[in-house]
Structure formats: C-alpha cells, structure tokens
C-alpha cells in the first residue's frame, strides 16, 4: 500500500509544482508602454504631441510631391530622358509628364512615396484622432495645455484632409481613433464636399480651442493658431476661386489680417536666403516649419531625388563663380532624379536674389574656348550642413511663412477687386534687395502685372519653389491655370487628381478609383 501512496503523491507533487506558478505568465512589455498604461501622465501627452509632429515631419516628401512636383519646375530638359548628369528619373517623370497611373502613382497609399517605407497620412490622422479623444477625457493635463493641444490636433487634421482633398478629391474620412475590427475594416470615399465641410469645421474647432492664444511653441516647430489661420486662408481662397465666392475671399482676408494684428513680430527677413538657413530656425518670417536637426532628423528624401551625386557633379562648372564643382564643397551626396528645368531658372530676373538662393545652375566648359554652356540645374534651397565631410540636409521645411501670408493676402485682395500692390511689393522689394527699382519692378509696373492673377502666381512661383506649393497654387487659382502652365491638357482634366495606386485599391474593395484612371 505504501508504494501506491508514493506513486500517488509523486503524481500530485508534479502537478502542484506547475499550477502554483501559472500567474507568472502575466508579463508586461518592458521597453514599450502597454496600451492600458498610456495617457496616464501629462508628460505622456507631451511626448505624444511631439510624436504627432515627428510623424508629420516624416510626411514632408509627400507634401512636396503632391504640392509641387507635377508643376512646371522640375523635369528633364528637351532632348533627354535622364537628368543632365545621366541619372535616370526612375518614375519621377510621371509627375511632370502628367502620366500618373494605377501602377505609377508616385504617391501611394494616400501619402507614401514609392520605394520609401513610412506611414501614410491616415496613420497620423489616427494618432491625432486618438489624441483628441484622450485630451477630452483626461484630467492630468492642465486646461491651458489641453486647449492648445486640441487646437493643434484639429488644425493639423484639417491640414491633412486639405492635402487629401486637393489631391484625390473624394477620400475616406476617419475622425475616431483606430480600432481594428477585421470583419468591418474597409471604408469608402466620402464625397469631396463632405471632406471640405470637415476641413472647415476642424479649422473652426481649432480656432475655438486655441481661444486666442497666439504663442508659438518649440521655435515655431509646433502647429499654432497662426498656422490654423494660414490654413484657413488657404482653404477659403480655394473655395472662393472654385465657387466664385466673395464671402470666402473675405473670410480668408480676415484670417490673414487677424494674424498680422495679433502677431506683430512676423515680418519678412531682409535676406531671402537667410529664411532657410540652418542657423536661423524659427525666425521672424516663419509661421510654422517642419523642424529638422543634425543628428535628429534630416531630409534624406532631398538627396534621394533632387540633388546630384558627388562624382557626377564634379564634371560640371559653376559659371557664376567661375569654378569647377568638387567633391568636397559640392558633396551633395544625392541622386539627381528630379532636376530643375533650365527654363525654370531662366524665368527669374538675374537681379532677383531668389534665383541663386533656390537653384544651382550647372555648366559644361569648353576647355579650349573657355565658353560655358548651361547643362542643367538642381534645387539648392536646402543646402543643409556639413558634418565630418558629409552633407546632411537639415534645414527646416517651411509650411507657412510671412511671405505666404502677404501673397495670400494679395490673392484675396485681387479676388475682392482690391489692389494687391502693398503685399506684392513688400515681397518684390525683399527679393531684389539693393537692385530693387520700384519704377520698373514694383506692382503694377511689370508687364505681367497687367494680369494680377498671373502676377501673383508668378510671384509665388519665384518665392516658394521647393516648398510644396506650385501645383496647389495653379489648382487653387483654377484648372485653366494648370493647363496653361503644365503638361496637363484640358482633355485629360481627370488627371487634375491623383490616381489611387493598385495595392491600396486592392486592400480596400470599397475604394473607387479616381474617375478617369484605370482601376485594374
């Protein structure tokens, strides 16, 4: 009998050994914070707000592509399918050639450039939606901060939807935090009108939340009330132009005047190039800029497409300085897939300081005759910093600045039949500096000034190259301006909008392709 007991006891002993430690299976993440434990302290809210801006920053390349690359700035010069350095355009030509398609959308998944890993716009919209819900239910954030943060959230969300609205027209709307229910995860587009209604309501909510707090945070690297008002002007000018609504133009003008009244420190810097200098971040001209810093974040996308390889550029010359490029000074470290058209460079008045501050012309030199011939150009507005022999593109990327305020104001004035002279001339005077001759250069003394809309468009063209504006400007002024200035023809009006790329369409069967593009 003793043996049976031994056997029984050993069996039971084995069991008790195990069951007693089952609670040991409750392990929490060590190096991240579980969903249930976040949004418990004010500093967690602060870091999440920084995260929203950090994620916003990672969308910079998409803002540039959507806002500008299809316009009349970039391209390979006639007679070549490659950049003047020989680099292949690798699909980017679909933007300026207006040959976007299902399989070559060049901005995929509502906000990701092909070949680049990253998050689309809806990722950050989801983060913002989450933040709004959490802010509205928390007690750990002081009321002033809470309302400022809500102001940012609504303002930035409106900015994202305005990007989507201008690029795709009808887009899905999400305003609640991401909760994935796999059986019901797909979402159809909302009509463009609803998107616009959301944008305007978000702007109003943002303005209300800021409650007149015009302070800037983080050297203007955070969204602010002024940014919301700039966005408001941008949006209302669009609807004013598209709906011939004088009221909307007035709303835009009022928003801009409000900024001028409440933020008297805003002004144009005397030197155009110093606006973008890495040593001059958050300057008086900046209203909101995406913040980059050496060893924190650099715009590597600039090097991926817009500036040349070191060993290719050294074959060329800079005639203005009468020197050959070399790999120490001109170490752009890039791949020039999107060169600037020579004609873009030549549109500038040589006395305009914005010309060389924006574009680097490159020449070949006949070694026997010494004659320079223009070979091509590239953008050098963001020239970054030298770091141990390597160039890092760390300039801030302006979203809104005072020159934009002035020129939007000029636009509103033109829409309302008022004179835009004051604002345009401030911009021109700064651009020409000592060369400014009011008699010939001021509005309305240039030939183009006979058509005030073209005058403003051209001024914005000179002022904002590489700030993600030109294509949107043409679109805002009206479709005819797009056909006039770009390769897109009225016959292909459908291509004013962007196609939805193949995999995005497949991943959401409720999505309908932008009309006019193939959907499979």
């Amino acid at each position: 009998m003793k043996k049976y007991i031994i056997i029984l006891l050993s069996g039971l002993g084995m069991l008790s050994l195990v069951t007693s430690c089952k609670n040991d299976l409750n392990l929490a993440p060590i190096s991240t914070i579980g969903t249930g434990n976040f949004f418990k302290t004010a500093t967690q809210f602060d870091s999440f707000m920084a995260g929203i801006h950090s994620t916003f920053r990672a969308n910079t390349e998409s803002f540039q592509r959507l806002g500008e690359d299809r316009a009349d700035i970039f391209g390979t010069d006639p007679g070549s399918t490659t950049a003047f350095t020989g680099e292949a355009t690798q699909g980017l030509e679909n933007m300026w050639n207006q040959t976007l398609s299902l399989t070559a959308a060049e901005v995929n998944n509502y906000g990701i450039p092909p070949v680049q890993a990253g998050n689309n716009f809806y990722f950050n919209i989801g983060q913002i939606n989450n933040m709004i819900v959490q802010l509205n239910s928390t007690t750990v954030v002081v009321p002033a901060t809470k309302s400022y943060y809500l102001g940012i959230c609504y303002g930035m969300r409106a900015f994202y939807y305005f990007q989507l609205y201008r690029s795709w027209g009808n887009v899905p709307i999400t305003t609640t935090p991401i909760v994935v229910n796999i059986s019901n995860v797909n979402q159809a587009e909302a009509p463009a009108a609803s998107v616009m209604a959301l944008i305007k309501s978000d702007i109003d909510q943002s303005v209300a939340a800021f409650a007149g707090n015009y302070t800037f945070m983080n050297s203007k690297g955070y969204w602010s009330l002024s940014a919301t008002l700039m966005l408001k002007a941008d949006v209302y000018l669009w609807t004013s132009s598209h709906n011939s609504s004088l009221a909307d133009a007035t709303t835009a003008l009022t928003a801009l005047n409000t900024i001028q009244t409440n933020v008297p420190t805003l002004s144009l810097l005397p030197s155009y190039s110093s606006v973008f200098a890495t040593t001059n971040r958050g300057n008086n001209e900046i209203i909101f800029a995406i913040h980059n810093t050496l060893n924190e974040y650099a715009m590597t996308w600039v090097q991926n497409s817009y500036v040349p390889q070191n060993n290719l550029i050294i074959a060329f010359y800079d005639s203005t300085q009468n020197r050959q490029f070399n790999s120490t000074t001109d170490n752009w470290g890039g791949l020039l897939r999107a060169p600037v058209l020579i004609k873009t460079f030549r549109r500038f008045n040589p006395l305009d300081s914005r010309r060389l501050a924006t574009i680097q012309p490159c020449y070949t030199k006949n070694t026997t005759t010494g004659v320079y011939t223009m070979a091509g150009c590239f953008v050098d507005k963001y020239s970054g910093e030298q770091n141990a022999g390597v160039r890092s593109i760390t300039n801030d990327f302006p979203i809104y600045r005072y020159a934009d305020l002035l020129l939007m104001k000029a636009t509103a004035e033109v829409y309302l039949g008022q004179s835009p002279a004051t604002e345009i001339n401030l911009v021109r005077a700064r651009a020409f500096g000592a060369n400014y001759n009011a008699a010939t250069m001021s509005y309305p003394n240039q030939a183009i000034d006979a058509n005030p809309r073209e005058a403003i468009l051209q001024e914005r063209f000179f002022e904002f190259i590489f700030e993600g504006k030109r294509w949107y400007d043409l679109r805002s002024f009206g479709d005819s301006y797009v056909y006039e200035h770009t390769a897109l023809t009225a016959a292909n009006a459908y291509a004013l909008f962007w196609p939805i790329d193949q995999s995005t369409l497949i991943n959401d069967p409720l999505l309908v392709q932008t009309p006019g593009y193939a959907s499979h």
């Binding site: 029984l8 195990v18 060590i30 920084a50 995260g51 950090s54 994620t55 007679g79 924190e296 497949i506």
Partner: protein, 1117 residues
Amino acid sequence: MKQRFTYYRVWLLAMGMFLCSIAHAQNIKITGQVTASDDHSPLPGVSVIVKGTNNGTQTDASGKFSINAAKGDVLIFKFLGYSPAQVKVGNQSVVDVSIVPENKTLNEVLVLGYTTQSRATVTSAVAKLDQQVLATAPRANVADALQGTVSGLQVISQTGQPGASPLIVLRGGASIPVPGGSGPAQPLIVVDGVVRSYSDIVQEDIASVDILKDAAATAIYGSRASNGVILITLKKGKQGTGEINYKYTEGFNQNRQGYQFLDAEQYIYYGRLGGIASGRTVAAINQSAGYGLSTTPTALAEYDIQESTPANQYLLKQGWQLMNDPIVPGTQIIFKDNEKQIQNMVFRNTQSQDQYISADGGNDKGLYYASLDYYNEPGVVIGGNYKRYAGSFNGSYKVKPNVEVFSGLTFSDNQNQGDAQSDLATFYRELSLQPTFDPWLNAANTIPNPGNGGGSLDGNPLYYIQHEINSDEVDRIVANAGFNWTIIPNLTFKLSGSGYYYQEVNQQFTEAEQTIAQMQTTPQGYTTTRPASAFNDRVFTQTYDGTLNYLKSFGKNNFNLLLGAEYNDVSSLNIYTSGTNAATDNINTVNASTVFAAGSGNGSYATNFRIISTFASLNYDYDQKYLFNAVLREDGVSVLSPQTRIGYFPGMSAGWNVAKEDFFQNSGISKILSTIKPRISYGSNGNISGLQSTSSNTQYTYQGGYGSTSGYPQYNGLGAFTNTQLPDPNLQWETSTTKDAGIDLGFLHDRISLIVDYYDKVNSNLLTQYTLPATAGFSSILTNDGTYQNKGWEFTLKANLINSPNGFRLDFGANASYSKSKVLKLPYNGQPNNEVGTIQIWNPKTGGLMTVEGEQQGQTMGNVYGYKELGIFQSEAQIAAVAGNRNDEIGHVTGPNIAAGSAGHIVPGDVNWEDVNGDGIIDSRDQVYLGNIFPDWTGGYNFNAAYKGFSLYARFDFSLGNVIYNDFVARSLGQYQGTFNMIQEMTNSWSPTNTNTMIPRVTYADQVSGSGANYTRANNANAALDGENSQFYESGNYTACREITLSYTFSKALLAKTHVFKSARLFVSGDNLFYIKSFSGPDPEAPVTAGTNLINGIYQGSYPTPRTYALGVSVSL
C-alpha cells in the same frame, strides 16, 4: 482559465490512481555476456538497461554484465554500431546475448523527447540521421548535414558563408509563405533537453540526431512543435576502460565558378552601343562612368579609358589597348583591361581546420565524457571567417543505489567576421564593376582605389576591408544538472534544470574614408564621420522540468506512463550604442565618438517570455504486436492574453507488427517480407513562434503599445511617442493537425528496409499579417485567420545490396519527399477568395480573366507569372506585320501604325511579347504561368562500399520542380545600373548580324524610359518575381554530389601490436563537389531572402557553397 486547469488536474489524478492499481514484482540478479554476432568477439561497453527505467549497467572488458531485474522485465542491449537487442527476463538468471552489427533501420533506437524507444515499437513518423553523414566532412554548421539525408526535411543552403545556417522546412512548413514576410519557423531544436540553436554545436560531440515529424510524435513538445522537432543527443561516457579520441581534419575550400563577364573591349563596345540604342547623346555617353571618355581628373584616376590621342600612345607600352569607337566612326579609344582583377581579389582558396579531442570512461557508478574542439574556416570570399572554440563535459554518478545525479556543461565561442558586404553586393554589384576601373592607385598595385563613393560596392573591396573594422562574437553556454530517483523499482522521478546563456558582442568601426573624387581636391577631402557601433545581445533561457515515469507489464501487456511538467523562461536584453565624429582612426570602440544621436542607435531593449507546461504520455503494447501511444500536453504562454493563453495538444498513434503474428510467421511470405508494420497517427500541436521573437513588437502584441516614434524619437529635442502597435487581445494559438499513415517494411531479414509515410497536415489559426486598408494607417495587423494545408509522401529506403563472405559489402540508401501545399483560408476581406495582392490575367481557356499571384484561398503559393517572349523582332516589316497596332504599355513603346509611346516605337531587336488576349495591348493581363518557386520533390541517396579496412561513401541530394527567376542575368544584360559590366551572354544579344537569338538588343539602363523594358519588365528598384521576361525563369532542378569519402580503418590486429592505439582511421573526402543542374548560375539551390527563412525564387547572385577537399585522421587511445 482556473477552471480549465481543474479539469486537467482531475484527468491527471485519475491517471495517478491508475498507477496505484498496478502491482509490483520482486527483483532478481541477472548475469551474462554480450558478443558480436559476426565474429563472436566479446563486446565491452555495451549498455544494458531494464526497459523503461534508468536501471542500467555496461558490459566489462570481457563483455560481461550483471544487473537486477524482475521477471517479465525486458533487458535492452545497446551498443553503437550494433542493433539493439531485447531479451525478456523469464526464470533464467543467465542471459547471453549476441548482437548484430547495425544494418537495419527498423530496429534502431529513436530518441523521442523525454524517452527513447526502438523503431520496432514506434508508431509515429520519426526519422534518424545516419551517423555516417557526421563522420568525416568538416562542417562549420552541423545543420548542413541534414541536407538530403532525412525524408520530410527540405534543407536549403542559403549562402556559402562559413557557419551560416541553412533553411530547414519540415513537411512544407506550417505557415503561409507570404512574399515579403517571413518563412516558416525553424524546427524546434532540443539538445540534451535544452531548446537552443544548432549553430556552434560540434558535430563530433553528437551521438544521434532524431527528427520528430508527425503531431503524434511532436505533441509532447506542444506549442513550439508544429514545425517539427530535431532532437540532438550528445555523446555520453561508456562504462569500461577509458578512451581518448583525437580527430584532425584539414579542408581545402574552393570557390564555385560563377558567371563570366565581358572583357574591357566588349564592355566598352556594348556599353556605348546601348546608350545610342536608348537615344542617349554621344556627349551623355561620354559622361558615363566606365565606358565614357570623361577627362576630369577623377575619371582619369578612376578608369583606364581615354580617347586615343597622339599624346597618350605611350600607354600602349603599359598594357593598354586600342579599339575603334563603335559610335563615333573615325575615333579610337585607348583602354586597359582590368576585368579579372576584382574577381581575383574577391575570391580566394582557403584552408579550414578542425581539431577535436575527447575523453570518456566510467564504471558502474559514474560516467563522464569531455571534449574540446577548435574549428577555423576562412570564407572563399575575402573578409569572412568563422572560428570556433568549443568544449563540453557531461557526467553522471550514482550517489545512492537508486539516485543518480548528472550534470553537463557545453560552451562555445565563435568569432564570425561575416563578409564585408551582403551577398548581393558582392556577387552582383562588385563583380559587375567596370572592367576599365583601375583597382589600384599606384603602379605597384599595393594601394587600393576606393572608387567613386557608392560605398564599398563601387570600389576596390580591399580599401573598405582595410578601413571598416568589424567583429562579431557569439558565446553560448549551456549548463544543466539534475537527478534520477528510482523511488521504487519501475517508478522513476527525474528533475533537471538548465540555463542557456547566449551572448553576442558586435563591434563596428569605419575609419575616415575618401572617394577617388575627394582625393582629387586640394586639400584632399575626407569623410570623417567615423561611425562606430557596438551591441551586446544577451538572451538567457531557464528551463526546469520534472518527469515521472512508470513502467509496468501484465502478462503480455506492457505499459509505459510518463507525467511531466516544465517551466521555461526566456529573457533578453539588448544593449546598443553608436556614435559618430570621433577625432581619430586609432580608437575602434565607441568611446571616442563625440556625437550620439537619440533613436535606434543608442539604447537598450528588454523582453521576457515564458511557457509553463504539463504533459503526459502513455505507451502500450501487447506482446509488441499491437502498439498504441497517446500524448497530451498543456501549455500556457505569456504572449497571449489571459483568455487565450492555455493550449492543449493531444496526439495518438497506433500500429500493428504484422510480422510478429504467428499466422504471418508461419506463412511463406515471412521469408521475403521480414517486417511489416502499418501505423496511423493523429495529433495536433501549436505554434507561437511568430510571437516569440525577442522583439517586443511581437511579444506583447495582445497588449498593444506606445513607444518611441519609429527611428526618430525626438522632435526638436522633445521625446516623441506614438501608438506603435494596435492591441489585439483575440490572438490565439496557431494549431497544426496532422494525420499520418505509414508503413515500415523489411525484406529478406530486414536487409532491405522501406519506410513510407503519407501525411495531411492542416495548419489553422495561423498568425497572418492581415493587410489593412489605407484608412487604418497601420499597414497590417496580426490575426489568426489563415489555414494552410500540406500533403505529402515520404520514402526512406535502406538496402544492403552485397554482403559477400570475402568481406565486400555494398549498401544503398535513399530518401525522397514530395510535398504540396495549399491556402485553405485567409482573413475575410470582402474580396473573392479573400485574395490579397493578386492581379488578373487573361485565361485563354475560359476566354475571361483569372486571378493569380498574391494569396487567395484554394491556391498554391509560389506560382509565377510573367510575359512570354515569343522571339525577337528582326525587321521593321515583321513589326508592321505582327505588331503594327501594338501598344506595349509596360515598355511604353508602340507599333508603327499608331502614335509613338512615350518611349517611342518598337524597333528591331525588341522582344515580340505574347499578346495573350489578342487585344493589341501588352499589359499586365498578358502574363502567363511560368512555374512555381517551391520545389516539390526533395531528397537524397547514398552508396557505401566497404572491403576489409577500406570504405567508399558517396552521398547526393536533389531538388525538383521549382523555377528560379534569374534577376542577376536580367539585370546584368539589361544594364540595370547603366554603366556596369555585363555577363558574357551579352555577346549573343540581337544585332542585325546576330539574329538567331532570344536575347534582345543591347540598351542602356533597360528600366529607364526609352529602352523598351525588354529585359526587366516589372522594373523597379527592388527585384520582382512576377511580371518579368519569360526567358529569365529557369528550372531549379538539380542533384548535388555532397560528399565522396574514401577511408581506411586500420585492423585491430595491427593496432594491438602498437599497444597504443585502439583504433585508427584515415580518410580523404570531397564535399559539395558538383551540381548537375540546368540553372545557368553557379548555385541552383532555391533562393532564400536573407534572414527570413522564406524562399523567394529570385536569384540575385548568391554565395555558393564552396567545394571542399578534406584530409583527416582519427585515432583513439
């Protein structure tokens, strides 16, 4: 959860009661002698065990033994190289046994996890590695020995880098192989009870390798076993006189010949011609690297090519040559051919060395085994080197008659330099360097030329090897200890604990570097970022397990019951730092750096993972005729939510030893058919390896997470957090359910044995990355919504063909596996068949569209579709006739009757694509089926001939049924990089004078608009499997000669005279000797995405396994 435990406890309690009801018998002392059946010599060191217990002993020097056993017990006699024998104890007290040298597969002892068992009574699918495979060929990674040697396992050598692990897939893998994802988890590797990697295990230390395949066998390992279990048993000491063994192997490694490239003259010719063909200007061509005629100081320093002028004719005396410029008549080009230089620098012949010494011995109380090993293998590509020091000790001692303690320790330290760059970089880009590139800066060829700064890819690799200093060291220490306590006879309790400590220390530093262009400036430019990094990755695994084993027989009914429990904890800590801008090259560690960026480069990261388990198994046989086995395991894991974390994994199997039946033995058939054992099994097990990685992102999925914004945790200096992972509390176990039917057959007294298995394995609840729509923001979420089925056949044949009385013996062995997989279920997404990533092509049979590629329910994975090349257009007339109205939307070229596409018109030399739907448009719908990337038949075969002391062993493996997309050839011929060298096949490209070819006309950078996309159709920066030119899909069928060994074993008589040696053996072997293949590249093995275990079917240039010739000697004292 609590409640489910209670049920289980009741079940176990009942089992305990059952144990109690079993009566117990009295022990008697048995003595006897063991001899060899062939020469009747007494055999020392034979282990004698009472079956099902740990009660055992060993024979002494004269083959004699003595052991306590009860009437009815079964004594098992085991000796390496001999078939084990079993004798049932009756009334006799003397048991003399003659054991048979092993030539029988059907009686081999199989290690089954927590127990061992003879194949004669095993009823599930288990394979055993033939020890012969481990005997000679030196191996940096022992897993290579599994290639083609075990049925049901597909083993693919991914790279020839020494020490690298192969890809191992059991029975088609237990997860859906989604392109771009990761492949099936590797089988669970258990080494003497410790779950670890097979890397750095010394093959000479291994006593046996057993592979558990069906769920009835693997269920005992529960949640980690759905990809199979590989059990490695290390050698133990033997009772009797002590022995010292020494083995020395020297290997001579050779690179396998790859593609041949154009020489400089051919390269200049085709490069310049291609530019013209793609509409480039002569000026643009002359700006191009390599074949251009740029006169910048940099270009002159970098490339040995110039326009011929009177001033540079002196170069002809320095080995330069002259040629006519093919694109500018009347001009000549002067150049130097440096084509072979880079190849000769990258590849080398190396020598590897393996030294192994061991000592073992023991008496009736204690046993020990100790060994030391040194292995060194420099890679045949410069830079790589695998060096390993390893040692092991294990021992046991009977502290009391019924208590045996045991402990063991193994350590290994490997220093694996790895290659300077990825295989792709070496085998595609570096070998494609312009043949006019001058790899040296000085005439004496001692100072390497760094090239133009495309990193180490575009210059002399020696420059980068000199300036980029890196090291990687992995230490593995396994310690275990425990005891066996025979509480009462036939009831044994075993408790053991083990710790497995893994540490990887990696350091990298890049000195100040220059490009050739920076060298041309005054003053010279330097890149002085001097990135330095180091990490220390520590993983500590603790395992504690206890088992209770009870053995009982009633008459002819034999029971073996096992109860067990296990606690497993894995904690990892990764500490990493990286800095830049050190002031000097002279300090290689990170402390000299001055800038430490926040983000992925600096930090530490910790995870923790736990499994707590209980299990039970029951083995029953009636007179060894009717066999039954049942297993149940319960696992609880920390990575699932409390609602779902407990899983139950049952398995059962049954078999019938027909040949043991009287009616069978009495029939005449038994003279021919000596063994016949049909068996069936059913079981399920789980898998959570997808959640088990040391990355926190997957480990804590069910809880979701907030963490540092990916890669850039700062915004304007502020800490930035985002929601990095959506919570999913519904995640569950992946489960695999396997039905297996098999038969073990023996013919002619088992001289020929055949084991056949058929399986049907359904892997359900698979962790699947469900692709989310754009609006979710997150690209995908893990769900349990996939079901994947594998079905297949496995055959293992072993035959003794000749066993002549004069001592000549010839054996043949072969195995083959066929597997076919299908997706049964995917997450619901509203699409037909829940398809993901599919496209539609024209189906000529139905005259409609069909959905292919991607994943869809009911579909086999890995099918490949592309554009069929019918031929090359020879003339404008042919184009007008065949494709006058064609619009090739892929190449953006059109026929002459319609407006030119953005890349112009189709011209002679372009490909005539098959217009499958005949609509005049070549678009994605015109793709055709071109094969499947997964092999369906794999296996191997071997011959062993022996005469007196000589033996000759040859081993082959094969793989059949897959296609490989040869991206390497397509990119090279398509001049993907624009200016890089092309392979020799370019000389067969179409031209007005070379028309009988399938290779299109030469173009510049084929993927660039204007070139017509003749070579790479799905042209994008990343190689694509589908949608390419059908010409570049090649068959992956091959058979490889893995080993031919000739060895000589000195006769015992001769050795006896030395009074020193007990045995001695000399051998010479050739390993990985050759492939018989149709694939055009050097290495036909199915291409695998590095680090993912996923067969991707895209050959981009890989590091083939080197050919090795080895010489070795092994002696024992």
